[in-house]
Subunit: 177 residues, 2 copies
DNA sequence: GCAACCAGTTGCAAAAAGCAACTGGTTTTG
DNA sequence: CAAAACCAGTTGCTTTTTGCAACTGGTTGC
């Protein structure tokens, strides 16, 4: 945890903090899947993280100031995890990894639609999404919300994903008949 | 190696390929440090990778098509590692991680200068640097080389780093007197 | 009062990382 | 021409991390 870093290189330091197979997936789920509770992160994880690993990673993300932990007023045992500005700042790195995966790896169709939108939108879209995360995780009012016809990036990403899932379900039904 | 992926999510697939503590550091050294041989990667690594880990990572990067391996004509035992287009494509992700580290982590002064230049230059500079990597690793002619007064990004990064190192050495000398 | 839900913890086996010494060969050097 | 340095790794071993499954102590809704 408080081990000496192997070097002061920014890339190395970043890898020492989030360079494992799970931390960035947890952050991804908090960002794109809007998961804020332990059970949500545990059970809706597409990759099947185990509870001890999740607990451990949440602790180190907490220690690193990437997320915060607060009581949920609706339930005495429930806690809410939120991204900090530092955590939200990881979005561009995550988006670039998403773009690279989309371009060079065998991504599944329903999960690639989000990556395509992120790639097309580019840094401008990422900034917009970061403002939405600042709203939902930090309580900062989102200036864009006032624009007429405004549709959040989160909503657009989810809608695109849902439409692909629906289309694939319809195709499967057609194939079966 | 050929294990089933945990999910088809582009971010997850990317993490399964380069989401460990060493792979991206090796790629960083190949990109920014121009290290092309096993011994260079082993001995000039600021983080002190061990030879079995290096050998293992080079093998998986090879299997993944991120690097290639070729004989060096100058020495029968020497091999040269080169980045592929897929490997070069990791630069923007690496640059974003560098930016995040610079902003939120305690980076050392001499290593932060490169990160600052990468952050200031933004995606346009990254593209320019990728063209230089295509030249040195893939043998593709670099169109920018024809421009009058052209100075490569690699040269500029190295010059900036060297000047900080020189300044710090001079300061240390002044302090000692 | 009982079942479902809440955030984790515990114990153990398997996999991965890390360390130091070593291999078999090639090129340089005195 | 022999010794030293260099080349890309490999081997054996210990330590650390990961992964799985079951479990804990408590809260809430029915």
């Amino acid at each position: 945890m408080t081990d000496d870093p192997r070097s002061g290189c920014p890339i190395n330091l970043t890898l020492e903090v989030v360079g494992d197979k799970w931390s960035l997936l947890i952050i991804r789920d908090m960002m794109f899947g809007n998961r804020r509770h332990f059970r949500e992160l545990l059970l809706h994880s597409k990759e099947g993280i185990s509870s001890n690993i999740l607990a451990d990673r949440l602790k180190t993300l907490l220690d690193q100031g990437i997320i915060t932990r607060s009581d949920d007023p609706s339930h005495k045992q429930k806690v809410t995890y939120s991204l900090t500005e530092k955590g939200i700042g990881l979005l561009p790195a995550l988006a670039q990894m998403s773009c690279w995966g989309l371009k060079f790896l065998p991504v599944s169709e329903e999960l690639s639609i989000r990556a395509e939108l992120l790639a097309e939108g580019g840094p401008a879209l990422w900034e917009e999404f970061m403002d939405e995360l600042r709203e939902s995780h930090l309580g900062q009012p989102n200036p864009r919300r006032a624009n007429p016809g405004w549709l959040s990036v989160g909503t657009r990403l989810r809608a695109a994903y849902d439409s692909v899932v629906a289309r694939k379900a319809a195709e499967a039904l057609a194939d079966a008949s």
